[in-house]
């Protein structure tokens, strides 16, 4: 009886994940069979989804470009630089960053960050405007894809930091002590004994962060004033899948609803692929590292 219940619960989880995929597919189907002219944009589903997929990727890329180096450095700081007594408390502070709800980050990004980034954006447009991604005129509100990317970076950072910290702490102590005993400086020790060991872990932590950045909704929905796909990061424009769904779904009905669910299905598949690769890397790493 009891073992049956336990087995049933396990099976339920498998069923739920398949149900998520199944119901999204069923509810998305009308979009694919609909007349292309009736889809938003009037040119079929592909040309509707393409710009927001690219927008999603742009925002996630910005987030990772900022969060990866800082996150890894923060993890190194906590594992190898901070005084031992401080390290646990600092780890808790980083976890605190992760505990703040995304809507609060969104509100902060929209009200504080966007307005304080107006001046830098204007400067960028004036002096670096010849680079396509900084083409002016800069947004007057600061609510651009770059701001959204920065807010996403703040939200992804604790994930990358806490995962890589775990890996750094597992790095074999003997190797590190041997490196120090041979006269290596702290940085040389980290480069020779810690980073090579942690490479797989860092990659998978970044992938998991990417999964989060791709699917994060509120930061983008509140921060970005959306529009069509453009190359410039400092003008209002671009849109991500998750934000598009959050903004439009509450009022959507009929074909529009199916369209948004289809967009959700695309997002689901992208994040599923990213997460599966990340987990695969982690599991492979576990088998070969000898850390367990």
């Amino acid at each position: 009886m009891f073992s049956g219940a336990a087995l049933g619960a396990g099976a339920l989880i498998v069923a739920v994940l398949f149900a998520v995929a199944l119901f999204l597919v069923v509810q998305a189907l009308p979009t694919f069979s609909a007349n292309p002219a009736e889809i938003t944009g009037g040119e079929g589903f592909f040309s509707y989804i393409f710009p927001i997929v690219i927008g999603t990727l742009i925002a996630a890329t910005i987030a990772l470009l900022i969060a990866t180096p800082i996150g890894v450095a923060v993890a190194l700081f906590i594992s190898h630089y901070a005084p031992r007594r401080l390290a646990r408390g600092l780890g808790y502070v980083v976890d605190l960053l992760a505990a703040i709800p995304s809507v609060v980050y969104g509100a902060w990004g929209a009200s504080f960050l966007a307005s304080s980034l107006k001046a830098p954006y204007a400067w960028l447009a004036e002096h670096l405007g010849w680079i396509p991604i900084f083409a002016g005129p800069a947004s007057g509100t600061g609510k651009t894809i770059l701001t959204a990317g920065i807010v996403l970076a703040v939200m992804v950072l604790p994930i990358i930091a806490s995962l890589t910290r775990e890996i750094f702490l597992q790095a074999p102590m003997l190797h590190q002590e041997a490196a120090l005993a041979l006269g290596a400086t702290r940085w040389e020790m980290i480069r020779m004994a810690v980073l090579p060991f942690a490479r797989g872990g860092i990659i998978s932590a970044v992938m998991l962060g990417l999964g989060r950045a791709l699917g994060e909704t509120m930061a983008v929905a509140l921060v970005l004033s959306s529009g069509p796909l453009i190359a410039s990061l400092i003008r209002s424009g671009n849109q991500t899948i998750a934000a598009e769904i959050a903004l439009d779904f509450p009022e959507a009905f009929g074909l529009r609803m199916h369209e948004l669910i289809a967009a959700g299905l695309v997002l689901f598949l992208i994040t599923l692929a990213v997460n599966m690769v990340a987990r695969w890397v982690i599991n492979r790493h576990k088998e070969f590292s000898g850390a367990n």
Binding site: G215, T217, M218, P250, F253, I261
Partner: protein, 368 residues
């Protein structure tokens, strides 16, 4: 004679090293120099701190490069970058908390904020409040009720499923293929975007109850999809560390397996399980996106999760910012949104603290 003494002091081991006080000297001069530089173009505290830090790092590395050689300089550079990255990472945390406190405290202290709903609070009411300078009316009572009820139902769904799955994985599966599949899928489930979980619940109930079904229960199902993997993971870890001797002792006394699990294994692990569940609650109570597409927006109190739209703290914040109650005077709405944000952060922090307390409270008594 004098030269002999100094040479003995600076032996081969310490030659080519900067004296210990160097960083302090460099730091002091960096602070002074950057203050002087900034006073030329306009002084501000933030720029001063940043410039001092950059100058300090640069001077430190250069001094090391000149006196101590390239390897030491590289080491110093790496250290400066890592310390700098940590400080940069703290900036948003401090900034977020400061912004929320600054904007949220006045609203939270407004009488009636916690005990009234937005029922009857219209744009005209807000306009009047701004015009007359009277306190802002309306509050979060309905959202608070909604948040608590939805999270409660999500917990009621997720905890049994999650806990039983963890028990299956640890106690019954013996590492078979199916358990590997479950573990993998649970890992994958942790990565499901929250909005997709919301869409799933919306699509599911649209199929069985007709399109446009938005109730608190739909939202609870959406949150469960996010919560179950967290519960499974944390309970699994906790069950794994229950020593095998306890199980074997129970079996030796002729206790059945299910009774061993219920009477021995779970009570031993209960502190970890409870704190894991509390952390999972803290995670989902702040979720916004799934509630937007499943629970709708309500302005009045709804105690029934099975019928009618429901508000919650995160969606309350979102709607107050995106569509202010009075389009011409958004200040009262902004104030309510920030106050709700502060309340939400306080709730999440309390839950996090509670998790630690629970872990300590339920910890199994150890003999003596």
């Amino acid at each position: 004679m004098a030269t002999l003494i100094t040479e003995r002091k600076r032996s081969a081991l310490t030659r080519g090293r900067l004296p210990r006080y160097t960083p302090w000297v460099i730091a002091a001069s960096a602070v002074v120099v950057s203050a002087a530089l900034l006073s030329l173009i306009g002084f501000n505290v933030f720029g001063w701190a940043v410039l001092s830090a950059v100058l300090f790092a640069a001077a430190n590395v250069t001094a090391a490069a000149i006196v101590e050689g390239r390897r030491k300089a590289t080491d110093k550079l790496a250290s400066s970058l890592i310390y700098g990255a940590f400080l940069v990472a703290l900036l948003p945390l401090v900034s977020v908390i400061w912004t929320v406190l600054l904007n949220g405290v006045p609203g939270l202290l407004t009488p009636g904020f916690l005990s009234t709903s937005m029922n009857g609070v219209t744009g005209a009411v807000d306009n009047a409040a701004v015009a007359d300078g009277t306190p802002v009316l309306g509050g979060v009572y309905h959202a608070l009720v909604g948040s608590v009820l939805i999270t409660l139902w999500a917990t009621i769904i997720s905890v049994p499923v999650g806990l039983l799955t963890a028990i299956y994985l640890v106690e019954y599966s013996a590492g078979n293929k199916f358990s590997k599949v479950i573990t993998f899928l649970v890992d994958v489930m942790t990565g499901i975007p929250s909005i997709v979980a919301g869409l799933f619940a919306a699509a599911f109930f649209a199929l069985i109850l007709g399109p446009g079904t938005k109730t608190g229960f739909v939202a609870a199902v959406a949150l469960s999809v996010l919560m179950i993997p967290v519960v499974v993971r944390s309970s699994e870890e906790m069950l794994k560390i229950v020593p095998n001797e306890l199980r074997e002792a129970a079996y030796a006394l002729g206790v059945r397996k299910w009774r061993t699990i219920v009477k021995v294994v779970i009570p031993t692990a209960i502190s970890g399980i409870a704190s894991g569940v509390t952390l999972a609650i803290a995670r989902v109570i702040g979720e916004t996106a799934p509630l937007l597409v499943t629970a709708g927006f309500a302005t009045s109190i709804n105690m029934n999760v099975f019928a009618g739209w429901m508000s919650s703290l995160p969606t309350f914040i979102y709607t107050q910012i995106m569509t202010p109650t009075s389009p011409s005077n958004s200040d009262p709405s902004t104030q309510r949104a920030w106050a709700a944000a502060l309340l939400l952060i306080l709730l999440v922090m309390l839950l996090n603290l509670g998790a630690r307390l629970v872990a300590r409270l339920f910890a199994p008594k150890t003999g003596r």
